[in-house]
């Protein structure tokens, strides 16, 4: 059934359809309508769950850890400062290998204080051992969140589903909503094999002495790498059941592309329009939309962009002192290849700044110039800065 829903409503509805049993939530712009919606579902008896009105995000995730370890499906949602506050526990959750699913509504980080969209928050925690899936539109939010529970529970890795604040969270689009019975058929019962139980008393969270710690980190890395297959497997089953395809990335008109644009999130939607425009003018431009940021699909990206002359990575984050994170991760993926495209990085859209067609054309133009020259000088560029600051660059 099609419903006209905001991104936040889609996330909340997905959690409801997944029959989460313990929700712990602390409000933060622009995630707030998710926790509000969920509390409405619970108050109306539409969702049979315990709703913990925690006093901070750190406690929100901590409560999820306790509940997940005791053996029930849990959910939380946050953004920006909240993600940072709970970041200590992100690492604990993955280290303990608990199948927790979380929504992160992408918002820029203070300082300066900002409530508007960019991807700095989730990108900053890409080392936390969580699977990170990014969404282009509200349909993907609903679908990826539902899939996230199965991915998490079958890998024992926590999953965060990320989408752009305001651009998706507060914008309504038509979303195809599956029936509860269909989702029940897709998501098996929650089963954490080491659930806290007086009948089988185990200890979770022991001291990882030097004799053993490295092995557990190795196991986490191995599981993360294997998770690529799981994401594909779950995507395939989802497609069979619900008709919509999901993988690690999406290739849009990349087959003979000379310039490939690479991005994550809602910007992909705008870039698809730009690609169509370029194609109309006979320019061989394509787009790769990355869905799984962690695990990072090295092989699939190599296949997708390996034959292009250049890749322009457009992203809404920066690691001060180097470049955007997607750019540096892509560089790692392509390293040691016999043949590799030129890579350029375009930092754009920070704190909700509009990424305009003009900016994108500028990026493509710069990339073409680099291809012409056969080299890239200053691969890290910024789009949309005020003219008065241009002199500083």
């Amino acid at each position: 059934m099609k419903k006209f829903m905001t991104g936040n409503d889609s996330a909340a509805l997905a959690a409801k359809l997944a029959r989460v049993k313990v929700i712990s939530a602390y409000p933060i712009t622009p995630q707030t309508t998710i926790v509000e919606k969920l509390s409405e579902f619970v108050a109306n008896g539409e969702l049979d769950a315990e709703y913990i009105k925690v006093e901070s995000e750190h406690s929100a995730l901590s409560a999820c850890v306790g509940a997940a370890a005791t053996g029930v499906r849990t959910f939380t949602a946050t953004s920006s400062q909240g993600l940072m506050l709970m970041s200590e526990i992100l690492f604990v959750a993955s280290g303990l290998r608990l199948p927790i699913v979380m929504t992160n509504v992408n918002r820029s980080l203070s300082a300066p204080l900002s409530i508007w969209c960019d991807q700095q928050d989730s990108v900053a925690v890409r080392d936390s051992g969580w699977i990170q899936l990014y969404c282009e539109n509200n349909q993907e939010i609903l679908d990826s969140t539902i899939q996230a529970f199965r991915i998490a529970e079958e890998t024992l890795l926590p999953v965060m589903v990320c989408f752009d604040g305001y651009i998706l969270s507060h914008t309504a689009e038509p979303v195809d909503v599956p029936e509860q019975s269909e989702v029940d058929g897709f998501l098996p019962q929650y089963n954490y094999p080491y659930a806290l139980d007086p009948e089988h008393p185990g200890s979770i969270g022991a001291v990882g002495v030097p004799d053993y710690y490295e092995e557990f980190r190795f196991m986490l890395q191995e599981e993360m790498l294997k998770a690529k297959e799981k994401i594909l497997e779950v995507g395939k089953i989802f497609a069979e059941k619900f008709g919509r395809k999901y993988g690690l990335l999406e290739r849009y008109r990349t087959e003979d592309a000379e310039i490939i644009l690479l991005t994550m999130g809602s910007l992909a939607g705008s870039l698809k329009d730009m690609v169509d425009e370029y194609r109309q003018h006979g320019e061989r431009v394509g787009l790769v939309k990355l869905r799984s940021f962690r695990p990072f699909p090295v092989r699939e990206l190599k296949d997708a962009v390996g034959n292009a002359k250049a890749v322009a990575v457009l992203e809404k984050d920066v690691s001060p002192g180097l470049s955007g994170a997607l750019f540096s991760d892509l560089s790692t993926a392509l390293i040691n290849s016999k043949k590799s495209p030129l890579l350029m990085n375009f930092i754009c859209g920070l704190a909700g700044r509009d990424v305009s067609p003009l900016q994108i054309r500028e990026a493509v133009k710069s990339t073409l110039e680099a291809v012409e020259a056969g080299e890239v000088k200053n691969p890290v560029r910024w789009l949309g800065l005020r003219e008065t600051l241009m002199g500083l660059r």
Partner: protein, 93 residues
């Protein structure tokens, strides 16, 4: 830290499903003093059993020290109301 070569499989998240497995670690090797009970004096009041932080005294009458785990702290000797327990240097009879 002692280095156990565990032949058991490592569970994800370092979960331990062997309750009470610290039993393998005999802390009796820590002590430099050991408690010796004069059973003539002992009234089986069970204070020593009650106050032992290492559960190293049996819950029976009369209570007996489990020297595999006794760290030689001396609490038992200190709390015994009839001074039936004496701490002697380890190795001495």
């Amino acid at each position: 830290m002692s280095s156990h070569t565990s032949t058991k499989k490592l569970l994800p998240g370092a979960v331990i499903m062997d309750p009470g497995s610290t039993e393998q670690n005999e802390t009796g090797s820590w002590r430099s003093m050991r408690p010796v009970t004069d059973y003539e004096k002992c009234t089986s009041c069970m204070s020593c059993w009650l106050y032992c932080p290492d559960s190293a005294i049996s819950c029976e009458k009369p209570p007996k020290v489990d020297y595999r785990y006794c760290k030689g702290c001396g609490i038992c000797a200190n709390v015994c109301p009839v001074k039936a327990i004496t701490m002697v240097p380890e190795g001495q009879k």
